[in-house]
Structure formats: structure tokens, C-alpha cells
Amino acid sequence: MRSRINLYIVEYAINSLLRQKYKTLFIGLVLTLLIFLLSSVFFITNSMKHELQATVDALPEITVQKIKAGRHDEIDVDVIDAILELNGVESAVARVWGYYYFQNAGVNFTLVGIDEYEEQYKKSFVAAASKLDFTKPSMLVGEGVKRVMDANYYKEYFNFIKPDGSLKRVDIGGVFKAETELESNDIILMSKESVREIFDMKENKATDIVVRVANFNEVATIASKIKLLYPDTRVITKDDLKISYQNIFDYKSGIFLALFTTALFAFFIIIYDRASGLSSEQKREIGILKAIGWRVDDVLREKFYEGFVVSLLAYVVGITLALAFVYIFHAPFLREIFSGYSQLKTSFALPFVLDMQTLALLFFLTVPLYIAAIIIPSWRSATLEADEVIR
């Protein structure tokens, strides 16, 4: 009978919390703040992971880069022909792209070249290819890029500085949109010819080659065949990329968490201290309860119910606030820490991602910790001498 949840004690616990308004409020606020910060960080990283994963998913199965002296180098376009010979390869396309540093704004653009009559290796490029004017130097720019250019009064065209110092003028033909904002934000699309000119790249060279494979299971085999054909290349499969993205994020939030552990222990101490400081009124109350027939276990139970009520409430409120902060207000300040794209000071919306596992993680990082912090203080008060109250 006693092992069931006793609603009367729960009621008493809530009542007791309300009667100690300021103490409850203080502990509740500290805990809520902690959960809020923690969940904001997780929501942001989850969303960015999701976004990046979507980007990676859209990528071709295999990317082939040439490696020279341990560094990424331009690759010969004729490699494509040899790759297409391999069984199971559906298509192989040479990519021409690179980063362009725009000094005035201190940001990097990603320049990507496309061909009008070529199979596009990304879905979003198909629409762009029909929109782009290939008859003259023209480009489509991502929204982030557009904003930066506007701010620098390049409304109609932009002057790229070539490696030899001369200028290349390219007209702004429109805005480029992809499925995810993260993907298209800093991108500039133009003809391969223009990109080659800006980066001073020869006609028969490309940045890398992307390969599409018909059967997913053959990816690994084909990758190793390419590697055999061209030992001077690095062959990256989509899975490799996925894993390294995941690692980067876990690593980043791991570092954050390591810092956070310090905060957790500070929090532990604060709660311990608060819970220990019993006023004489509270001591009297516990003495009364024991004197009229409450067991030590009942008092302990009441204390833990108090702890549960506070921590679960803080858990729900903290998470709700974090959801609003991240997905409605786009997480000002915090996002900058986690976005590798923060050089390009533009905002992009985070896709909504919420899973059980994150909720469980948040739970385990906060609620048991809080309960642990109140064990000893609760026990101290539950075992106070009851006969003091009769004096």
C-alpha cells in the first residue's frame, strides 16, 4: 500500500514548495536556465546536423580528388572517361568550383561552375541551369551572398579579382535557391568557363570528379577500383563524409559539454547548499510531522517529490523556452558559436528537429543530478530528532 505513489504526499510537497516561494523560485530558475542553455545547444546542433546531412545526402556517392604533395590539386578531365568504363558507374561529372575571398566584407563565397548541356550533379542546379544566361558572363547568387553584395553596392554586377590582378566583371542574373538554406546561402553559380577564368584554371582541368553509382552496394567496390586505377587520387564516399560531419558536431558539442560539466557541478553545489539550509521553521515542521506519525521514509519521500516537481517543471519549461528561442527567434548569439559559416554574417532558418533521444539525453543530464544533490540534505532533515519539538 505504501509503495504506491501517494498523491496526498505529492499534494503536501507542492504545498510546501509554494509556502517557500523564494527558495523554490531561486532553485527553479537556476535549473530552468541550465536546462534552457543545454537544450538550446542540442537543438541547434541537431538542426545543423540534419541540414548538413540533407546536403550530404544530395551529394553523389563518390568524389575523386587528385592529391599532389599531400594536397588537393586540379584533376585531369580525361579521368572521367576511364571511370565511365567501370561497370556499375552511372555517370561521372567534372566539378569546377572553389572559394573566393571577398576582402571588403571579409567573407568567403563558394563559386560553383555549371554547364548548360551537362547532367547536373545536384537537383537544385537543374532549375538554375535553365535560368542562368550562358551567353555572357552572368551568375546566380545565394541569398547570403546577395545581401553582402547589396551592402557593398554591387547591385547589378560584381568585379572578381583574378590571380594576375586584373578584374573580371560578372552580371548578377538572379538569386539561387536550394532545398536547404544552409546549402545555397554562400553559393555563386556561373558557367564553368567563368569559374575557370576567375581561378585561372586550364580547360582540361577540374576541381574534382563526382561519380554516381547505380547500385548502392557497389559503392565501396567501385571506389577501390578507382583508387587502383589512379593511385594519386583520394576517393571519398558519401558515407565517409557523413561520418566526419557527425564527428565534427559531436566533437563541438562535446567540448561545449565538457565546459558544461563544470557548470553542472557548480549547480550541484548550489542546490546542495540551498537544500541544506533549513530554517528553524522548516525544522520545526519536519519535527511535527514525525511526532504525529510520519516515518523517516515518508519525510524522505516528501522531499523527493518536491525535487521531482521542481526538476520536471524546470525540464518542461526549459525545453519549451529553448524550442521557442531556437526555432522562433532563430537562436541569436548561440548559433554563431556552432555555425561554421559565421564568417558569412547571414542568418538562415534552422529546420525543426526534435527526437526522443535528445529529450532523454537532456533528462539524464539534469534531473538525476538535481535529485542526487538533494539526497544528503533531505536525509539530514528527515532524521532530525523529533522529540526536540515537544520542548
Binding site: 504526499i9 511526532a291 504525529i292 516515518r295 523517516v296 515537544i390
Partner: protein, 222 residues
């Protein structure tokens, strides 16, 4: 009903010093008896009550209530015993001021998870018996001293215990209210309860309702 055998109670004040509050008490109280424990302040009256209520344990000797050796009971059994068998009316009433009259009275029932209906029946019985039904919803801190005592008595009786212990019940009451307390004792005696009153108030000396007076001085019975 209640038996104390060679009971000694020492309080450790610090490492080297201890106070002997009770020094070899032998005492037997029969069922239905009303006993007054009289003695000056500091003589050990409250200590005897707290031993009978299993609120504290003797340093040596035995306390037996019914056929239960309560001086040997572990906490959970001592608590159950206290809740079911003892109604304690404390000197300072020991009510929780920020709770209402009702909430205070049902406090002993909270850990045992009864039906709401059962609680209501028990509550209404004592509210009527001690004439405080009209104040049931008020906060205790807004009540007068006499009313507070009636709440304390109601709480002590919520489980209809066989034994009532009262510590200096009239210390904070005027003469009129003290007399009405004596009336309450009569009523409880009529119900067959065993009652022990610790007091140095002469009002209780030589009363009809009191079966026996026991004098205590410096931890010893006279």
C-alpha cells in the same frame, strides 16, 4: 496499558557531559486511567511523555505499551505506533501555521494513502467533537489560542487513538479556557481513553476526573 521498567534517560550535552533526565523510573498506567504527572519545570515530565510516544528511546530500561516493547521498535514501526495508538497534544500545539485547520488535522493521515471518503469521515468526526467545524478552512495562524488548542486536540484524535498524552495543556490558556479543557478530558475519559497529563498547573490537582496523581522530581518518582 503503559509500563515503564527501570527507565533511565540521559542526554549527551557534549563529549564529556551528560544530563540525567530520568533516573530509574518504574511506572504502570492501566487502561482507561487518567493520570496527572506533576512536577516542577525540568523534572522530566516531557521526557516521560516522549518515551511513551516512542519519540525517543531510553538509555536503558524498557517502555511497553499494550504488549509492544516500543523502546525496541525501529523507526517505521515506532511511527506507525505513534500514528495509530497515541494522540499527542503538545505544549506549543505544534501546528503548521501556514496550513488551514483542516489540513493540519489530517496531517497524520497523509502518509497512509486512504480514500478521500474515509479521510472526510474521520475529519468530520473530530471537527464536530471539538467544535471547530466553522473554522475548518481558515489558516491556523489566524486562530486564537483556545481555538488552536482545539485544533491540536482534534489532530491528536483523528485516528481515534487509545492513549492521549497532553504536555502542559493549560500553560497558554486563561482560566475559562483551562476549564473547558477539563471538560474535554472528561469527554475523552468517557470514551474509555487512557490519558496522561503532564502539568504543574494546580487546576488539575484533586480533580474528580483524575484517577491518580504522580509526583516527579529531578528524574525520580516520589
Amino acid at each position: 496499558m503503559i509500563r515503564l521498567v527501570d527507565v533511565v534517560k540521559k542526554y549527551e550535552v557534549n563529549q564529556s557531559q551528560s544530563v540525567v533526565a530520568l533516573d530509574g523510573i518504574n511506572l504502570e498506567i492501566k487502561k482507561g486511567e487518567v493520570v496527572v504527572l506533576r512536577g516542577s519545570s525540568g523534572s522530566g515530565k516531557s521526557t516521560i511523555l516522549s518515551l511513551i510516544a516512542a519519540l525517543s528511546k531510553p538509555t536503558s530500561g524498557e517502555v511497553v505499551v499494550g504488549d509492544e516493547r516500543i523502546s525496541k521498535l525501529p523507526d517505521s514501526f515506532a511511527s506507525d505506533f505513534r500514528r495509530n495508538t497515541i494522540g499527542f497534544v503538545f505544549q506549543k500545539y505544534n501546528l503548521i501555521h501556514t496550513l488551514s485547520v483542516e489540513e493540519n488535522i489530517i496531517l497524520p493521515l497523509v502518509p497512509i494513502n486512504l480514500d478521500a471518503k474515509e479521510i472526510k469521515v474521520k475529519l468530520e468526526r473530530v471537527l464536530g467533537m471539538f467544535h471547530i467545524a466553522h473554522k475548518a478552512k481558515q489558516l491556523v495562524k489566524n486562530l486564537s489560542g483556545g481555538e488552536q488548542q482545539r485544533v491540536a486536540i482534534a489532530r491528536a484524535n483523528i485516528n481515534n487513538p487509545q492513549i492521549i498524552l497532553a504536555d502542559e495543556p493549560t500553560a497558554n490558556l486563561d482560566a475559562k479556557l483551562s476549564l473547558s479543557f477539563v471538560e474535554i478530558v472528561k469527554e475523552l475519559k468517557a470514551e474509555g481513553k487512557t490519558i496522561v497529563i503532564a502539568t504543574h498547573d494546580p487546576l488539575f490537582f484533586g480533580l474528580d476526573v483524575v484517577d491518580r496523581e504522580i509526583e516527579i522530581s529531578q528524574g525520580k518518582l516520589l
